[in-house]
Symmetry: C2
Subunit: 368 residues, 2 copies
């Protein structure tokens, strides 16, 4: 059936209002009027329609003492719609039920013992999901299953075989999804050009330019860890020498330490151990080196350090900054901010949920 | 005045039809019906309206001998609307009048003697433009002035001071605009993830991901030439050591040669001169090194070598390819094609004109 132009616009407006409160939380009708550039009666009609569908609630705030009636406040009904967001990390899995508005309603975590195969990984993931499903919000609508998984992890085919098929299965890399989450409701809110770096065994990036995700042709772009920064550097697991992740990632921290854990090296550096401090400083300089390359290529407004890179950056921000300033072109020196994510470990999970919310936010009454 | 939803859609459809014939040349109504997903009577009405405005012409092709009437062919009227496209290169300036459909109707070139300052450069550019204006298509509508200029060249302010103000002034980097042109009507047509490399004194990139230009926060992203590929390499004019452009660009070709011209070194290599051949091979390997980094970061479908890099690539494609294959992750190895631009020296000029056509193509009867 053809949709009339008026109906198209009404749906767009419903989506714009729902997206606004989904991302910003409870908002007065007066602010919605200003923020969306629509008139008061349109906002009232849209909010009423979304409330009738159970997607939002409207409340009259208590009288403020100022003259006039207070403007009703619109907020999402977080149990009305939810997504299952799953993350596959090297050493653990997480499964969460994320409600409209981006709230984590419920979550489970499972540790992975080293060497757990892909088949067993997806089986554990399916069991975590089962536990979540047993406690699903009564009466809520499930929007989809969204998984944050790196190129090394289980494939889309393996995930699809183990997970339910009643709703769409959406997949992204942890770094891409964390970047999306920090953009939507974290440290990069309101910015359009973002590099989010995630460090664990490797280094990967979630990149947004002009507000759009740079996922590349095959969906696994952002493999910044395999940018070669030192042609005579250490051998990388990929076969090259001197990849950024071998010089600035966990492998570099562990190479000169008896400890098998990067956080232990960082703690020893904080406690004043000279060898650990030298190691952290060296890693920080290579971290800055790669960041400078990315800034010269992409001209972002912000670079966020996630995972173990967060700790490296916090331990040696001066070294990182000095190297970046020394290497980026003068034109970019003032423009780029370095910082850490706001959503921490939850970022990939929340970003995955945002993927699943997208079709609802585009067309709230038909997009489910 | 508010625009009705029907009117919005009619304008979008007019734009879609005009863009189709602008990019693809003469097209039958039957192909437009299929290509745009609109019905025959709508296509007829839209084409009639664009023809009445003088933007397109409709012609009945000669009878083909097949049964039935031949479908009328729609083509742009290239003199109806035009843009002035200007390029500032290191050693020369070009100014062209580009008609709707992307045809260069007229152009002038001026050589720049070494050391020509910015003030004189913009003065010469303004004079070239004046010569074009004296021969403007009679009755055509001027859409805008578009300039391809790198970050080193005259600034937007300097250009605005020297050029007319009767129509918009649009500015982009030569690499960004060449990428746009190759995407619209060149070697990267139909592809969404593109890296176009331009080599002259430096190396810069025009990057598209998901069909969108990656210009960065300040509009001068793509400074890939200052990606450091060899921390103990040669000193770059930017102050760093081992920037990609010092190892793989013109400076590297000239460093080991008595000649002051990269093309002479390349010709000597072709003629079998051993030193020149070694130099070209070395440069080609560093070229591949940087390309591999960009592929790992951006996962493009195609990398195009423009400017002097075109000649380096054609002279030593095997070395470039071998280095790229050796360094990119297996997932990307099959996906990326290396090649040369189709539009050659005209690419920045044609891309600049595309910038100026954009508002017309979005809204043909109101966008001028």
């Amino acid at each position: 059936m053809a949709i009339s132009p008026q109906e198209t616009i009404r749906r767009q407006n419903l989506g714009a209002l729902l997206r606004y409160v989904h991302l910003r939380g409870a908002t007065s009708r007066a602010e919605l009027t200003a923020g969306l550039g629509l008139n008061r009666s349109t906002i009232r009609a849209l909010a009423t329609e979304l409330a009738a569908a159970g997607l939002v609630r409207e409340e009259i705030p208590p009288a403020s003492g100022r003259a006039g009636r207070p403007s009703p406040v619109v907020r999402t009904n977080s149990a009305s719609c939810y997504a299952y967001a799953l993350t596959v990390q090297r050493d653990h899995l997480r499964a969460a039920c994320v409600g409209l508005g981006g709230r984590i309603l419920d979550s489970f975590t499972a540790r992975l013992s080293p060497g757990t195969g892909r088949t067993e990984t997806v089986a554990i993931l399916a069991r975590l999901l089962g536990r979540l499903q047993a406690q699903a919000p009564p009466g809520g609508a499930l929007l989809g299953y969204a998984v944050a998984v790196s190129a090394d992890g289980p494939s889309a085919t393996e995930l699809a075989a183990a997970l339910p098929h009643d709703r769409p299965l959406l997949i992204g890399t942890p770094a891409d999804l964390a970047a999306r989450a920090e953009h939507a409701r974290g440290a990069a809110r309101g910015l359009s050009n973002i590099v989010y770096l995630h460090g664990d065994a490797g280094i990967s990036a979630g990149i947004l330019t002009g507000g759009q995700a740079v996922t590349g042709h095959g969906g696994f772009g952002g493999q910044v860890g395999h940018m070669v920064v030192d042609p005579v550097g250490h051998r990388c697991r990929c076969g090259s020498r001197g990849c950024w992740e071998t010089e600035a990632g966990e492998p570099a921290l562990l190479r000169r330490s008896a400890s098998g854990d990067a956080l232990t090296v960082l703690a020893a550096a904080r406690a004043g151990d000279d060898a650990s401090r030298a190691s952290v400083r060296d890693v920080a300089r290579w971290l800055g080196h790669g960041v400078a390359n990315l800034v010269n290529i992409l001209d972002p407004e912000v670079v966020l350090f996630g995972g173990v890179l967060r700790e490296v950056y916090l331990a040696a921000a001066d070294e990182v900054r000095a190297r970046v300033s020394g290497m980026v072109l003068p034109a970019f020196r003032e423009g780029v901010r370095l910082g850490v994510p706001l959503l921490g470990e939850d970022a990939p999970l929340i970003g995955a949920a945002e993927l699943a919310f997208e079709s609802l936010l585009n067309d709230p009454l038909n997009g489910v």
